[in-house]
């Protein structure tokens, strides 16, 4: 039994436990350099838990209007009630689902699509010119302007907000990753892969793509932050997610006219929104410092 265990084995990949240990070591390293990140992780963890367990936390039917109009925060209505007598706390909790869903969906679509387009554009010269001019053109529009125009056409809904925000998100990922691909293309390991006859998809996805992940992960956190903010701005302006589906942005909008008499309607969803974005930015900052200490202190 013992001799069998002591036989030398060749490990092709780190074991699961070693990966977890490595992850924790990296995490410790990140937090030591930047204690703020711990704050970010804690806030985000709480918000994610709230989002996951939202159906258990929500106590009332927040879509139903009642006669308890604009009640101030109390033990019964923690965040008070809005102009239609709906519980603001329940709406904020329910709204966290939509706000985060839009944020994560936009980030996933932008990163995946942006990575694929950038890999091909960076590798093939002819494609590069066409794609990059198009990307330059798209990025000349402020995100909100392009999104507003698209939503005016497509109509306001959760999916259309995701589509509208993913357009700019993808374009900015393409610009970022394509620059990386351009320099990676000239590396020796790519030349070696080409020399042994690797097919193009293998060179792109197995050899080049993993080397861009560091930059992409950092950028993804900022995309998440800006997507959550942009969705909130669109919904606040009444051109995003329709009012009957609560999101942090459109809940703030429902309190717009009641600053003097019921500030709590707009105040609390804004706190959730700010804390979530703050947490994501703090984590992104720390990741960037860890992956590339040269860029310390710059974001976006």
């Amino acid at each position: 039994m013992r001799t069998q265990q002591e036989q030398p084995t060749i490990r092709l990949a780190p074991s699961a436990s070693m990966r977890i240990r490595r992850f924790f070591n990296a995490f410790l390293l990140i937090t030591r350099g930047n204690p703020n990140v711990l704050l970010g992780v804690i806030i985000l963890a709480i918000i994610l838990l709230i989002t996951i367990f939202a159906p258990l936390i929500v106590r009332s039917d927040y879509t139903q209007t009642t006669t308890d109009l604009r009640l101030p925060p109390s033990s019964e209505h923690w965040f008070g009630t809005d102009a239609f007598g709906r519980d603001v706390f329940d709406r904020v909790i329910a709204g966290s689902r939509v706000s985060l869903y839009v944020g994560f969906a936009v980030t996933t679509i932008s990163v995946v699509l942006g990575l694929i387009i950038a890999l091909f554009a960076g590798y093939f010269r002819i494609l590069d010119h066409v794609v990059m001019r198009f990307v330059d053109g798209l990025l000349a529009f402020p995100t909100i302007l392009l999104a507003l125009a698209l939503i005016a056409l497509l109509g306001g809904s959760v999916n259309n907000v995701i589509i509208a925000l993913s357009v700019t998100g993808t374009a900015s990922k393409v610009r970022l990753v394509r620059g990386q691909v351009l320099s990676l293309r000239e590396e020796q390991f790519v030349e070696a892969a080409r020399a042994v006859g690797s097919p193009v998809w293998r060179i792109l996805f197995i050899h080049i793509a993993p080397n861009t992940f560091g930059v992409v992960i950092v950028q993804a956190t900022f995309t998440l932050a800006t997507a959550i903010l942009a969705e909130a701005s669109l919904s606040f302006l009444g051109a995003g997610v329709p009012e009957f589906i609560p999101t942090w942005g459109n809940i703030v909008a429902t309190g717009k006219g009641y600053v003097q008499v019921a500030f709590w309607i707009s105040f609390f969803p804004g706190v959730f929104l700010t804390l979530t974005v703050l947490a994501v930015v703090l984590i992104g900052d720390a990741l960037r410092d860890y992956l590339d200490p040269k860029l310390r202190g710059q974001f976006l």
Partner: protein, 313 residues
């Protein structure tokens, strides 16, 4: 230098062309008839016909594009579907509030952002630095419309220092104008100075490690002189890029603040157009804003090449 300037100007042309193509085609990407989308549910057949004729969508698409581009080239931004007035005329009175907001915000946020950034770099690692930088991240995280709400609640509802809504044009007197613009200017300046201060701080910290800064200190120059004359000048290059790039986010901020504070500027005009689905106005706005963005960045790039000869080669 001339060569660089010329190449840079020429490189902006395809970008503006692509901006034009995107702006033109945006109305055609939605499934269905654009006239039906604009007209809404209650539009009659005659309404649709009229809108189609006004949009020119009863013509083949290449004819539409050529007509649209040639009108643009003559400075004609089109005609609003609802008021039937020329968009250039509609935009003219909206320009002053937005420009005034823009100039104030750029000046104030640059001043604030750079001073805070230099102060933080000076006191790097101390509680002052940490405090400023934490507020900078907070400023980046807070949505503009919520910050506006907090300022209205605090400064206008409770303290009654500033009006919550309403706009007094410069014609009413400069002080009245600045007073009415204080809250919207403050909201946008807080957001963009948060960004500028972080970039300034990191650029300063980079430069402060250079040999010539050590030489300057070794010569016995006062710390203030070292900071402002030797370190800040080279550090200002990335800062200027950021200010140029932040023009795009300023546009976002203006759309939101103009709608909150009821400022009759271009941002509010855009929102009104979006609600009415007045596509010629939306397209005109897209064209103007994106072209302005490309041109501002073009000017900044060329200015750089003058400031930093390394860029030219």
């Amino acid at each position: 230098m001339w060569r660089y300037t010329l190449v840079r100007i020429l490189s902006a042309i395809p970008v503006i062309a692509v901006v034009g193509i995107i702006t033109f085609s945006i109305i055609h990407i939605a499934p269905g008839d654009p006239a039906a989308i604009i007209g809404g549910d209650e539009a009659t057949v005659e309404d649709l016909q009229r809108i189609r004729a006004e949009l020119g969508t009863d013509q083949p698409i290449h004819i539409q594009f050529i007509r649209w581009i040639s009108r643009l080239a003559q400075g004609d931004l089109g005609t609003s579907i609802f008021s039937r007035k020329s968009i250039t005329e509609l935009m003219a009175p909206r320009l002053q509030p937005t420009l005034s907001l823009g100039i104030q915000v750029v000046l104030l946020s640059t001043l604030l952002g750079i001073s805070i950034g230099i102060l933080s770099a000076w006191k790097a690692g101390t509680p002052i630095d940490r405090g400023f930088m934490f507020f900078a991240v907070l400023g980046f995280s807070a949505p503009g419309f919520w910050l506006a709400f907090i300022l209205i609640w605090g400064l206008s509802v409770n303290l009654r220092w500033f009006p919550a809504l309403g706009y007094s044009p410069i014609g009413d007197g400069l002080l009245t104008h600045l007073h009415s613009m204080f809250l919207p200017v403050a909201v946008n300046s807080i957001l963009s100075s948060a960004f500028i201060s972080r970039i300034t701080r990191s650029a300063m910290l980079d430069v402060l490690q250079e040999d010539y800064v050590r030489t300057a200190r070794a010569k016995g120059l006062r710390e203030l002189v070292v900071f402002l004359r030797h370190a800040f000048r080279p550090a200002s290059i990335p800062v200027v890029t950021v200010i140029g790039a932040s023009m795009a986010s300023l546009a976002t901020g203006f759309v939101v603040t103009e709608s909150i504070f009821a400022i009759p500027g271009l941002g509010r005009m855009l929102i009104e157009a979006i609600i009415r689905r007045d596509f010629p106005i939306i397209q005109a706005m897209m064209m103007v804003v994106a072209t302005a963005y490309v041109l501002i960045n073009l000017v900044i790039d060329i200015l750089y090449a003058y400031l930093d000869p390394r860029i030219r080669y």
